[in-house]
């Protein structure tokens, strides 16, 4: 499974959305991505990619797109 597929899978499983929704997905754009959903998502992503993000990155992780930029700082490249 590629990084892109793993990354997408985190959102798909956590929020029960479909692939077509991912690019537009932002914090609080759906009910499930609330503060609890955010913490759960961050935990799943850290576990999936075996990283530990800085607090600023966790609190800045505001969208599916933004998350790709943040993960790149940890050497996790999400292919387009």
């Amino acid at each position: 499974m590629t990084n892109s597929e793993k990354y997408a899978q985190c959102f798909l499983e956590m929020f029960e959305v479909v692939s077509d929704d991912l690019k537009a997905l932002e914090y609080q754009s759906i009910q499930a991505w609330d503060s609890v959903g955010h913490m759960n998502l961050m935990g799943v992503i850290e576990e999936e990619f075996e990283i530990e993000m800085d607090i600023d990155d966790i609190t800045d992780f505001s969208s599916f797109i933004k998350g790709k930029e943040i993960l790149a700082r940890y050497g996790v490249i999400i292919e387009a």
Binding site: D34, S35, M39, G43, T59
Partner: protein
């Protein structure tokens, strides 16, 4: 059935408010018109879930269902996850200063809370809804309550309100997050911080309640080991 004149709502809402609380086993053969004073302007009725005859009777008297309140208790907290622990290293709580209270009240006046039965009711104004919260905080702080500010990296990002009920019992009454300055995800920790504060003060058990209209509160509490104490359906009627 208990009837109480909610005299504090005269100050908060500018109305004569009465609260009626039913318990299981109470009769459904009541006549609201005859048991309430003529000066009632707003009535709030709490009915235990499954008391369907009472609910039907309230409909007959023109009452409208507005929410379900869940009263819960918690006697221990799960350990923080690694992620939560890392975030909490940047969080401190403190008794709200005068400036904090001014900011908290300003936020409330600006529409911080939108999921309570007054804010959601278009027969009330946002000023009435805000006044009710500020009055609630004032009353609580003056009777063994404590308003605590949540500081993230030196910035006030939220607060919680607790009350010592005696004998190791505390109440976690209210919590709010300023979403424009609070870091993403911290809302999930605010209640946790409130409960922890109560346990640090010696609480054996902490009571709380939230409305079915408040998705965020429900989601947060679903992630904690709470015990359901009581559930009431709430009906209201404007008499003006």
């Amino acid at each position: 059935m208990k009837i109480q004149h909610a005299h504090w709502e005269r100050r908060n809402l500018g109305l004569n408010v009465y609260e009626i609380v039913f318990e299981h086993g109470d009769t459904d053969q009541f006549d609201v018109d005859s048991i309430l004073p003529q000066d009632a302007e707003y009535i709030c009725v709490k009915v235990p879930t499954a008391a369907v005859p009472v609910m039907k009777r309230l409909h007959q008297f023109g009452f409208q269902f507005i929410e379900t309140q869940s009263q819960m208790s918690i006697s221990h907290l799960p350990p923080y996850t690694s992620l939560q622990s890392r975030i909490l290293k940047s969080v401190v709580t403190r008794a709200s200063t005068k400036d904090d209270v001014a900011e908290i009240y300003s936020r409330i006046e600006g529409g911080l809370f939108t999921a309570d039965r007054v804010s959601l009711d278009d027969e009330f104004t946002s000023e009435q809804a805000a006044s009710r919260y500020k009055g609630w905080i004032d009353d609580t702080v003056s009777s063994d309550g404590s308003l605590q500010s949540i500081i993230f990296k030196s910035e006030l990002v939220g607060f919680f309100l607790i009350q010592d009920l005696g004998n190791g019992l505390y109440a976690s009454l209210l919590a709010g997050v300023f979403s424009d300055v609070a870091p993403l995800g911290i809302g999930s920790l605010i209640n946790h911080l409130g409960y922890q504060h109560c346990f640090d003060l010696g609480a054996k058990e902490v009571l709380t309640a939230f409305s079915s209209n408040n998705w965020n509160a429900a989601a947060i509490h679903a992630s904690l080991p709470l015990k359901l104490v009581k559930q009431y359906h709430v009906y209201i009627k404007h008499m003006r």
